[in-house]
C-alpha cells in the first residue's frame, strides 16, 4: 500500500525569500487587528462587563425585533438580542439592574415570565448574572493569564534556547493574540471566559509549532556551522514541513468535527482555536524563524564561554 505523503521528500522551498513581504503583511495585519479592536471594540459578554444574560431556545425561529420590543417593554434597560448557536436559540442581554440582588432576581423572573406567556414552548437554557465587581476581576484575571502565559513561555524558550529565540517567541505570540482579538472584533462574536481559554490554547499550540522548528534550527546550527543563517533556516523549515502539515491537519480535523457536530455553546471557542491553528502555523514559519535572522543568530549562538572563545581564536570557524 502506498502511504500518503502530503509533503514530498526533500522539499527545498525558499521560505525565507518572502520573509520581508511576509513581515510587511504581518505588521499590517497585526496593526489592522489592533486598530479594529480599538475602533470597533469587542463584543464583551456579561463575564467581563457585568449584567444579565438569559439564553433561551424557542420552538421556531422568532422575529428578533419583536423579541427586542417585548423585552424592552419590561423596562429593564437596553436589551441586546443575539442568535446563539442554532437559529432558534437566542441570548438576551440586559444591563445589571440598579438596586442590587433583589432587582436582579426580579429582572430574571420577569424575562422568564414574558417568555413563558409570549412564546409557549420556549425553554430557558441558562441565566447568568455577574456583578460589576466580579466582571472587572474576571477581565483582569483573563488579561493577566494571557499576558503571563506569553511572558512565561517566552522565558522558557529563552532558558532552553537563546535570547533571540525568546524574543522571537514573544513577537510571534503577540502577533497571534492580536490576530485572534482582531477576528473577534471583526465578527463581533461574543467574548466570554471561553474565549480567554481559547486564546491561551492558541498561545500554547502556536508555540508548540514554533518550538519544534526552533529545536531543528538549534540542531542544524550545531551540525552545519559553516552554513549561512538564511539557508540554514530554510533547511530547518523544509525538514520540519511535513510534520508541521501533518500535525496541523490532524488538529484541524479534530476541531472541524467539533465545530460542525459539537455543542453550539462552545462554537466561539472552537472557531477561535481553529483559526488560531492557521495563524499559529503561519507565524511559526514567517515570524518566529525570520526574526532569528534579524536578531543575528549565528552558529556560535549556542556555544558559550570557553568553547565560544575557542571559536573566536580559530577565527574561520574551523571547528567541526
Amino acid at each position: 500500500m502506498r502511504l500518503l505523503k502530503l509533503v514530498p521528500d526533500n522539499t527545498n522551498i525558499d521560505f525565507m525569500r518572502w520573509r520581508n513581504l511576509a513581515l510587511i503583511l504581518s505588521i499590517i495585519a497585526t496593526a489592522a487587528s489592533l486598530m479594529l479592536v480599538g475602533v470597533r471594540g469587542l463584543n464583551l459578554g456579561v463575564d467581563f462587563v457585568g449584567g444579565q444574560m438569559v439564553r433561551a431556545t424557542f420552538p421556531q425561529a422568532v422575529q428578533v425585533d419583536q423579541l427586542r420590543d417585548q423585552v424592552g417593554a419590561l423596562g429593564l434597560g437596553e436589551a441586546s438580542i443575539q442568535e446563539s448557536g442554532g437559529p432558534t436559540s437566542y441570548q438576551i442581554r440586559l444591563p445589571r439592574p440598579e438596586g442590587g440582588e433583589a432587582a436582579a432576581n426580579a429582572a430574571a423572573s420577569k424575562v422568564r415570565q414574558m417568555l413563558g406567556s409570549q412564546y409557549p414552548g420556549s425553554r430557558v437554557d441558562s441565566v447568568e448574572t455577574v456583578s460589576g465587581k466580579v466582571s472587572e476581576e474576571l477581565a483582569t484575571d483573563g488579561a493577566l493569564a494571557i499576558g503571563l502565559a506569553m511572558i512565561g513561555i517566552a522565558m522558557f524558550i529563552w532558558f532552553r534556547f537563546e535570547w533571540q529565540f525568546g524574543v522571537g517567541a514573544l513577537v510571534t505570540l503577540f502577533h497571534d493574540v492580536s490576530m485572534t482579538l482582531g477576528f473577534f472584533s471583526l465578527t463581533q462574536l461574543q467574548v466570554d471566559l471561553n474565549v480567554v481559554a481559547a486564546i491561551l490554547t492558541i498561545v500554547g499550540y502556536s508555540l508548540n509549532d514554533t518550538v519544534v522548528i526552533y529545536d531543528r534550527i538549534r540542531e542544524n546550527l550545531r551540525k552545519y556551522r559553516k552554513m549561512q543563517t538564511v539557508p540554514l533556516l530554510n533547511l530547518s523549515l523544509n525538514e520540519t514541513l511535513s510534520r508541521t502539515i501533518v500535525t496541523s491537519l490532524s488538529i484541524l480535523l479534530a476541531l472541524g468535527a467539533l465545530m460542525i457536530f459539537g455543542p453550539e455553546v462552545i462554537f466561539g471557542l472552537t472557531v477561535a482555536i481553529f483559526l488560531g491553528i492557521f495563524v499559529g502555523t503561519y507565524s511559526s514559519i514567517y515570524i518566529s524563524a525570520p526574526i532569528l535572522v534579524w536578531l543575528g543568530v549565528r552558529p556560535d549562538s549556542f556555544l558559550r564561554g570557553e568553547e565560544g572563545e575557542k571559536i573566536e581564536r580559530r577565527g574561520d570557524g574551523a571547528v567541526v
Binding site: L4, D125, V127, L258, I273
Partner: protein
C-alpha cells in the same frame, strides 16, 4: 531500541491497564455499573454544572457588616469583662468610627481597664500583633481599634463558619452532591447540581434565624412599652403576630448558637407542629440556672427580633431540652429547625455572581460532544493510517489508550468534565498524535539519509524527544495559567488539557516505542514502510 527491559514492558502495560480500568465506569451506563464487581473502581468522571444543569452562586462577605458585627460582639465582651470582679465602672460605650471607646469613671482604675481590655484582644496567630489595639486617652478614656491583621483573621474565621452554615442550610442531611468552598479571602462558591430555581436556593442561604431567650421585664410600664419605650437595660420587641409589644431584658439568657440539635416535632397536647431543641452543655447549664432563679416569671422566645411566645417558667428546665411553639405549619417548623440547627451566619453574604443552566442544554451538549469526539477520533485515525501505515496503527493504539487514560485519570482525581472540557478533549485528540508525528517524520528522514532500519528507529525516537519535551512544556505553561486564573468550566478545560499533555507524551514516547520494539524483535523487518 531492541533492548526494552522486561520490567519496563510490565511497568508501561500496567500503567495503561490501570488508567483504562478507571475509565471503564465512566463509559458504562448506570445499570451496568450497578452490577459491576465491587472490588473494581466505581468512580466516574463527574459532570460540571454547565453539563449537568444546576445553579451556581458566588457569595461575597459584606466586609463592612463583618466589621460591625465584630464591634458589637466586642462591645458585649467589654461590658461582661468589666462587670466581673473587681468591677470597673464605666460610662456609655461608643462604637463610632469603627472603634470602641468608653470612659472609666474612676481615673485610678484606668490602668486596670486597659490591662483587662488587652487580655480581651487576642494575639493573631503567631504574628505577635493583637486583634485590637488598646490605648488610653485623656487620663480616663479607653479606645480599642481593630487592627488590620485582627480584622483579616476575624473575616477568615467568619467565612469558614459561614461556609459550614451555608452547607448545612442547603444540604441538611449531608447527602447531596453540593459544592460549598471558600474562594479567595472573602468569597464562598456554591454549586448545586439539578437545582433550576436559584431564588429558592438564595432564600435558603439568606434566611436568618437568630434565636434568643430573654427574660420578660415585668417592671416596665405597659403604657411606655406600647409606645416603644423601655426602661434602661431592657428593650421593646414586637410579638410575631404584630398584635402587641413586649419589654424584655437586653441580657440574653441563651441564644441559638448554643443549640446542638433542632428538629420539627409535634406538641404532645395540641398536636400542633413545634420545634424540639437541645442545648449544648454550657447552654443547658445556663438555661437551667436562669430558669431555676426565675420560676414563675415569664421569658420570651425571640426569633429575629420578634417574640414568638412568652411562656411562664413553671419549673426549672434542667436537661437542656425545650420546645418552641408558635403559629407553625409542619413546613415552616421544619424550615426553622433547619436554619436553627445550621447556626447563624456570622457575616452577611451578598450574591455577586449567579449562573443557572437548564438540564436540556447540558444533555444536548453531552450528546453532541460525544458525537464530535467519536468523529474526531475516527478522522484522526484514518488520517494516521493512510499517512504512516503500520506506524499509523501504533499512533492509533496510542491515541485510543490516551483517550481512555484521560477519562481514567479524571475519574481518579474526581475532576469534572465541563463544556469547554469537551473542547479540550477533542483538541487533545488532535494534538496527541503530534508526538507520534514528530517521531515518525524523524524516522522517515533518517531512512532517507540512508540509515539502517534499527538505526533510523533509534535515532528517530531519540532525536524527536527533545522537541517533544520542549513543545509540550509550552502547552503546560498555558494550561497551568489557565487553571490558576480560570474559574469553573475553564478550569475543567485546563485540567483536560494538562492531563492530555501528560498522557499523550507518555503514550507516544513509551507505549508506541514499546510496540515498535516488540515488533522489530519478533519480525526483524528488512524494509520499513513509513
Amino acid at each position: 531500541m531492541l533492548d526494552f527491559a522486561r520490567w519496563k514492558v510490565w511497568a508501561i502495560t500496567l500503567t495503561i491497564l490501570v488508567g483504562m480500568l478507571f475509565a471503564v465506569p465512566s463509559l458504562l451506563p448506570q445499570k451496568a455499573l450497578d452490577r459491576y464487581p465491587a472490588f473494581l473502581p466505581h468512580s466516574r468522571v463527574s459532570l460540571g454544572l454547565d453539563l449537568a444543569g444546576g445553579s451556581q452562586l458566588l457569595l461575597e462577605a459584606d466586609v463592612a457588616d463583618a466589621a460591625k458585627q465584630r464591634i458589637t460582639a466586642m462591645e458585649e465582651n467589654v461590658r461582661t469583662e468589666l462587670r466581673n470582679d473587681p468591677r470597673v465602672e464605666i460610662g456609655d460605650i461608643s462604637t463610632n468610627g469603627g472603634r470602641i471607646s468608653f470612659m472609666v469613671r474612676d481615673p485610678a482604675q484606668l490602668d486596670t481597664g486597659v490591662e483587662r481590655m488587652r487580655t480581651l484582644a487576642q494575639p493573631v496567630g503567631l504574628t505577635g500583633t493583637r486583634a485590637w489595639d488598646v490605648q488610653a486617652f485623656d487620663g480616663n478614656r479607653v479606645v480599642m481599634t481593630p487592627t488590620a491583621q485582627g480584622s483579616a483573621e476575624a473575616l477568615k474565621n467568619a467565612l469558614t463558619v459561614a461556609r459550614d452554615v451555608v452547607r448545612r442550610r442547603i444540604d441538611p442531611s449531608g447527602t447531596k452532591e453540593v459544592t460549598v468552598i471558600n474562594q479567595g479571602a472573602q468569597r464562598i462558591l456554591v454549586q448545586v447540581p439539578g437545582v433550576q430555581d436559584p431564588e429558592a436556593l438564595k432564600a435558603l442561604i439568606g434566611q436568618t434565624a437568630r434565636l434568643e431567650f430573654k427574660l420578660v421585664d415585668q417592671s416596665a410600664d405597659p403604657a411606655a412599652v406600647a409606645q416603644g419605650r423601655a426602661p434602661a437595660g431592657s428593650q421593646v420587641l414586637p410579638l410575631a403576630d404584630g398584635t402587641a409589644n413586649i419589654a424584655v431584658q437586653r441580657r440574653v439568657m441563651v441564644s441559638g448558637e448554643q443549640l446542638v440539635e433542632a428538629h420539627q416535632a409535634f406538641d404532645p397536647q395540641s398536636g400542633a407542629p413545634n420545634i424540639s431543641i437541645k442545648f449544648n452543655a454550657a447552654g443547658a447549664r445556663r438555661f437551667g440556672r436562669v430558669t431555676q432563679e426565675n420560676v414563675g416569671k415569664p421569658f420570651a422566645i425571640i426569633l429575629d427580633e420578634k417574640v414568638l411566645s412568652a411562656p411562664n417558667i413553671n419549673e426549672p428546665i434542667l436537661g437542656g431540652q425545650a420546645s418552641i411553639s408558635g403559629n407553625f405549619t409542619t413546613e415552616s417548623a421544619n424550615a426553622l429547625a433547619i436554619s436553627l440547627a445550621s447556626g447563624k451566619l456570622p457575616v452577611k453574604l451578598n450574591v455577586v455572581e449567579e449562573r443557572t443552566v437548564g438540564p436540556d442544554l447540558g444533555r444536548d451538549s453531552i450528546q453532541k460532544g460525544i458525537i464530535a469526539s467519536v468523529l474526531a477520533v475516527m478522522a484522526v485515525i484514518v488520517f494516521m493510517l493512510i499517512t504512516y501505515g503500520r506506524f499509523g496503527v501504533y499512533a492509533t493504539a496510542a491515541l485510543i489508550v490516551n483517550a481512555l487514560m484521560i477519562l481514567g485519570i479524571m475519574a481518579i482525581f474526581n475532576a469534572s468534565l465541563t463544556l469547554p472540557g469537551i473542547a479540550g478533549f477533542v483538541l487533545t485528540i488532535g494534538a496527541a498524535v503530534d508526538a507520534n508525528v514528530l517521531i515518525n517524520e524523524r524516522i522517515r528522514e533518517e531512512m532517507r539519509r540512508g540509515r539502517k532500519i534499527l538505526d533510523a528507529l533509534d535515532t528517530g525516537y531519540k532525536e524527536a524527544s527533545t522537541a517533544i519535551f520542549d513543545a509540550n512544556i509550552t502547552n503546560t505553561i498555558a494550561a497551568a495559567l489557565m487553571w490558576y486564573f480560570g474559574s469553573g468550566p475553564i478550569r475543567g478545560f485546563a485540567v483536560v488539557l494538562f492531563i492530555g499533555i501528560v498522557t499523550s507524551v507518555f503514550t507516544a514516547v513509551n507505549f508506541t516505542r514499546m510496540l515498535v520494539a516488540l515488533w522489530v524483535k519478533r519480525r526483524r523487518p528488512r524494509e520499513l514502510h513509513i
